[in-house]
Subunit: 256 residues, 2 copies
């Protein structure tokens, strides 16, 4: 793991947060740490949305809030073909097809689902390699509890990762296009999961979101539906997500 | 409003909480206040479940947590025919019919729905009278923001109260049996509402709970589904409820 930059103050970083970018083979990533270096700070792996990248504005806002307010360490990597990564021909075909379908006001879900499943399949071993490297860092170590949060493509990746790697101890997930394959993956997930879903959007279907929630084999799971069409998570739900992760990764809820 | 007792320390009261019972005409109630007497403490009206009373254990636990942790003032009254109130013949008929249906393992929903709608209709003016008296207390006053929380019968009452009285600024609701009449009432509610629903119980139907949530005309509404068959609200959801009320009644979320 090669660190390529370190930032401690910038216009966008809250105080107390250190940002480090890194490369790991082909993987390009970023790590946000509390500068207080608390012992046992949980590690949150953050999966960006389809078409976005490791420093998507919503992801950065959420990550730095988790670091500044809850003392988490947060890592994000570019998914294959996203951000600083080279996009292969097949991925470019899917990306173009989504663009064309949007322009023609045709349904994008079937394309997005195929694309996401393919990217997620490649992203899982990359997340595992990244997690190996993070656990080798003295600031993190192997005893740190690890959670995963994501939206859209990040949800597909997170479900596959949690089904494949027992190091993932909790999942916090936003909206996603759902098909049977994703539901099958969700049936393999047994760790605590919290799902969020906008109630009035036109892209994701309510019934599909509920069916996905229902499929998780987790003993503790929660579905938080919020009003509005907006896929930007309301601030109080972002806060709920951090509290959920904190409860499962730190072992106690933060005080009121 | 006649206060009939005041307790500041007891085996069940957390420190910092004052408990006062009161009567107001036929109404029998209880008030929990923070002994620090904070200015602008929001007032939460707490509606007990069918068959329970103003000091039901879950209600008391929730109320005293809201006082001790969030600085709320909380009031509860016995619903007509519940707790210290005399039960009329028709209510006794319904209570007996529910008991018989349970014993015979027959559906109780139709009876509970009729019973709850009738009790709620009578409870609404009693809550309004109680709120008038509470607002006349110097510790509370007319500028205090008022929220309402309840389960089962308390949900039916709260929806009717919020539809009828603009002083109710936010609603926090648990599980309930749903029919068209309740859904019609929910359509009249425009204040922020947060609903909670167990996912694996056998009494309340998932689809009915979702339909009720969908019916609220509120611009901000949230549905929190949690795993398990248990109607006892998980501690973290109880905490979410207090944070939701705090956000809407105090005007700012509590700190992390």
């Amino acid at each position: 793991m090669q660190f390529t930059s370190e930032t401690t103050t910038s216009g966008t970083l809250p105080s107390g947060v250190i940002e480090r970018t890194f490369t790991l083979g082909d993987i390009t990533g970023v790590l946000w740490l509390p500068d207080s270096r608390p012992i046992g700070a949980p590690l949150l792996l953050s999966g960006h949305a389809g078409g976005m990248h490791k420093k998507a504005p919503g992801l950065v806002a959420n990550a730095t809030q988790c670091v500044a307010t809850y003392g988490f360490t947060v890592a994000a990597i570019d998914a294959p073909g996203h951000g600083d990564r080279t996009r292969n021909q097949q991925d470019q075909y899917w990306a173009d097809a989504i663009h064309q379908a949007r322009s023609a006001r045709e349904p994008i879900a079937p394309i997005v689902i195929d694309y996401s499943l393919s990217v997620a399949e490649r992203a899982v071993p990359e997340w595992q390699t990244t997690l190996d490297a993070l656990q080798a860092m003295p600031e993190i170590g192997v005893d740190t509890k690890v959670g995963y949060g994501g939206v859209t493509l990040g949800v597909v990746t997170g479900i596959a990762l949690a089904a494949a790697d027992s190091r993932i101890a909790a999942l916090s997930l936003g909206g996603v296009f759902v098909n049977d394959s994703l539901i099958d993956s969700a049936r393999k997930v047994t760790v605590p999961v919290e799902c969020r879903m906008p109630w009035d959007g036109d892209e994701f279907e309510r019934d599909a979101g509920i069916a996905l929630f229902d499929a998780f084999a987790s003993k503790e799971k929660a579905l938080h539906v919020y009003s509005g069409r907006d896929y930007a998570i309301p601030e109080h739900e972002r806060d709920n997500s951090a509290r959920f992760l904190s409860r499962h990764l730190v072992g106690q809820p933060p005080t009121a």
